[in-house]
Symmetry: C2
Subunit: 204 residues, 2 copies
């Protein structure tokens, strides 16, 4: 009926984000009500507003946190002394291994852009295109080094990104393939798709 013993605002806020993530990934932002979130957290509806100004702010936090962490994580990957093909290899492995365990956040960041008010939309979209530039720049680099033979760097970047993004839609934890094996397959296909010289033959 009032503040609860041991309650901590920061912890509650995190639990709200956590439960919202799961619910929104499963049902979609519009289909999730504040009452559903409150029940999942184990708290009264009104209490949610002690931590977030409104429903949209929860979504914004989920999306911007995810995108920012994704970009941050990519920056920590060591690319020193690698040529463009090796870097693209690292990128494919990074994308798959980083995103598969975060399927809910990935799905939301991809799907719920349209649920954002215009200014929030712009903010998130900027982070998203930053990630696209990573791939495009890598491919352009390989093109200039003469390692990749492609028709169009932008199209190639979007094709590669589409390919790896798709993994999240079909991967099953108890499936036939380990994450590491999937990485291997995608690296091979990606490098061949950009016309990497040494990747003409698959080691089948």
């Amino acid at each position: 009926m009032a503040r609860i013993k041991g309650s901590d605002g920061r912890k509650t806020a995190l639990r709200i984000l956590d439960e919202s993530l799961k619910l929104i990934a499963k049902l979609g932002y519009a289909a999730v009500s504040m009452r559903m979130i409150a029940e999942a957290v184990g708290v009264n509806v009104g209490s949610l507003y002690n931590h977030f100004a409104n429903k949209q702010q929860i979504l914004v936090r989920l999306m911007s946190d995810h995108m920012a962490q994704l970009l941050e994580a990519w920056k920590t990957v060591d690319l020193e002394g690698l040529d463009a093909a090796e870097k693209l290899d690292r990128f494919v492995r990074f994308h798959i291994s980083y995103n598969l365990p975060r399927a809910d956040a990935v799905f939301i960041s991809f799907m719920e852009l349209r649920s954002l008010a215009p200014d929030n939309h712009t903010k998130i979209e900027k982070l998203r295109s930053e990630y696209e530039y990573v791939v495009r720049d890598l491919i352009k680099e390989g093109q200039q080094e003469g390692l990749f033979k492609i028709e169009d760097a932008h199209v190639a970047a979007m094709s590669v990104l589409g390919s790896v993004i798709g993994v999240n839609t079909w991967y099953r934890e108890k499936g036939r393939l380990t994450i590491s094996k999937i990485e291997d397959h995608y690296v091979a296909m990606t490098l061949r798709s950009v016309g990497h010289a040494k990747s003409g033959e698959a080691h089948v």
Copy 2:
């Protein structure tokens, strides 16, 4: 205040589907109300129920119509006398040229599976996997013919599908590239990605 002169049930039903398609693609199923659809059609809310039993039935019609038409259209593509590489070429072109002008339906069929009741979900999912089998079978065919050198036919199929599905997310009508040029690029990248012998080099 009553039936309107010249009104025709079949035409109204089609207009309802048409406007629903646009609204749901833009805002998502849960975010679109029956009143919004009614207003877009230019009809009273209650009238919608003369044509569809409920809101979900509209979504089901949109999704199953789209998937059925997609599969039907693919069947009409002439593949006679072609080897697996040429068939995969045709598939990539078919997918891109068929789906780009139907961006709304494509997006909905991909995104709103979760908004369906379980039995409807199963029905649509079956159509979806039928489409996946098309690609997988083509790739297996090329593998057996010795035309494609890949590690795993299933992974290759999902990679190829992800790549082409992604086109819908970045294509802009007033962009730099025509649909036909995009097809060319994607065919080249796809064939290289499955290790097609003659596609080692891009004609840049």
